[in-house]
Each structure stands twice: as structure tokens, then as C-alpha cells.
Amino acid sequence: MTIKILIVDDSLPMRGVIKKTIKASGYAEAEFFEAENGKLALEILKNTWLDIVITDYNMPEMNGMELIKAMKQDNAFQATPVLVVTTEGSQQKVNEFLEQGAAGYIKKPFTPEAIRNKLIEILGELENAEPENSDDDLDF
């Protein structure tokens, strides 16, 4: 089964890096959706069933915390897990993400292993998962 992943980040390069890292982590067949902020992410969520949302915090229009709050208030996608990938590193902010319902948190800069381990923790172990390019040890 193909998993569907929404990446929410206002940085085009960062969305590309996260996508590439996920593919290299054994999710090569995943279907990706992208949004530049929380507001656009909600539009995608309204029309698409997703397995996970991976979001940045600091974005224009609607930030990651506001996105989590909006998702948790909507029956249609309150169960969709949210992984926060952000430069925000204060303990207070991390606790706030988790209290609002984030399934996990990864701090930038991140290693490919950190992404892979967190996805497995949230989505479960992949069967027959092979990194897209197993020769380069998850580098991209």
C-alpha cells in the first residue's frame, strides 16, 4: 500500500530535502503532497486522505502550531499523525507541540536516520523496506 505524506514547509529546498530523505529511508513508493504553509495544507487535507503530515513551525499565513490545532478540531483529520520538523528547539515549544497533539518532533538540522526512526515509530515498521539507494547509507 502506498503511503501518502504531506510536507508543509515554506522552504522549497527543505521540502525537497525532506522528500528525498524519506524516499531514501525506505519509503521510495510514497506519494508526496506539498504545501507552503498551514492554510494551504488544510486545503489539501480537505481533499486528500493522508497517512501523515510533516510540518515546519515557522511559516507565513499559518504556522505549524496553528495547523496542528486546526487539524485536531476537525473530525475529518484529527487522527492523522503530525510530525513537526523545525528549528524551534526550546523545551517549552517542544512540549507545546506534543501537548497540542503532535505525534513527534525532530529538530533541524536532522540526520536521515532521525527521520527514518521517527516515521517507523509513528507509522510502524515497513515490510520489505529498502532504501532507495542502499549503497550510500541514506546520504543523498
Binding site: D10, S11, L12, P13, M14, G16, V17, K20, N58, M59, P60, T86, T87, E88, G89, S90, Q91, Q92, K93, K107, K108, P109, F110, T111, D139, F140
Partner: protein
């Protein structure tokens, strides 16, 4: 509390090594004023304002050819596929990661609010951000491909004052 300069150097090392796969060295003799980094049209500059226990901005200045190389390493794309949008996004994300990581390295019990990074005209840097004041923190980093600069300009009282 770890000093701001040490935290910034730790942060730059982590970001470059983890996300850009680049080795680096800090050039303690170079400054923005005496190096080639400031050559107006040949560099790109980005500013990220922050507020917290102290406030100010982080300035990142990278020569365009080095930025192209960094974008290639960051995104894993061939040079001919890299666009201006990729380069702009890369310098903004570099500023974002360095700022966030610096402050959490400094003290992760304290919260800083980071603004959205914005590109600035490099021709304004000399007038607005130089010379470097005693309490500002300026770090010149040497990576494969050349030197680039990062500078924190403080508005309020430095935590170590």
C-alpha cells in the same frame, strides 16, 4: 550559560556537517570588512530578526558561487537543475537553522521567537550592519568553495554583559 559565540560556532558546524555534508574551519583572522565576502553583487545576503531575552538579527552573507555549491550539496541536485529560487531558499534555510540551533544550544529552557528570513540587498550591509560593534558576534567560516559570513547584531543587552 554557554557564550553566544561558542553556541553559534557549534550551530554552524552542526548545520553544515549534517545538512550540507561540508567540512569547515573558522577563519579567526578574516572579517566581513577585510574579506571578499562583501563584494556587493557577487554575494547574497539574508537577515533573520529574533526576539527573546535579547533581540536583534542574524545576518548571513554568502558569495553567489559558493551558495550555488552549498545548494547543490543541500538539495542533492546537479548544478544545471538548481534555480534562483533554490539558492534563495537555501540561504534562508541556512539562516533559519543556524539561528534556531544557536539559541537552543545557548539554553533550551529559553524561548526565542524567530521571524521569517528575508533576503536583503548586499549593498546595504556596509551602511547598516558595519562596522561590527564589540557586543556583536561575527563568524567567518571557510568551507570547500570559499569563505562566508554569519553575524548576530544585538539590539538589547548581551547576556554576558
Amino acid at each position: 550559560m554557554q557564550s553566544l559565540k561558542t553556541a553559534m560556532m557549534t550551530s554552524i558546524s552542526e548545520v553544515l556537517e549534517t545538512m550540507f555534508f561540508m567540512s569547515l574551519d573558522f577563519d579567526i583572522h578574516a572579517t566581513l570588512e577585510n574579506s571578499d565576502i562583501m563584494h556587493n553583487d557577487l554575494s547574497m545576503a539574508c537577515r533573520l530578526n529574533f526576539t527573546g531575552p535579547f533581540s536583534g538579527c542574524l545576518l548571513i552573507i554568502v558569495p553567489k558561487d559558493l551558495l550555488a555549491h552549498m545548494t547543490e550539496s543541500f538539495m542533492g541536485l546537479e548544478q544545471d537543475k538548481i534555480t534562483a529560487q533554490h539558492r534563495e531558499g537555501t540561504i534562508k534555510e541556512l539562516a533559519n537553522m543556524i539561528a534556531g540551533n544557536t539559541f537552543s544550544t545557548l539554553n533550551n529552557q529559553i524561548e526565542f521567537k524567530l521571524a521569517i528570513p528575508e533576503l536583503i540587498d548586499t549593498r546595504t550591509v556596509s551602511d547598516q550592519y558595519l562596522p561590527t560593534k564589540e557586543r556583536d558576534v561575527e563568524i567567518i567560516t571557510e568551507t570547500t568553495g570559499g569563505l562566508w559570513g554569519a553575524k548576530i547584531i544585538l539590539n538589547d543587552v548581551h547576556p554576558n554583559d
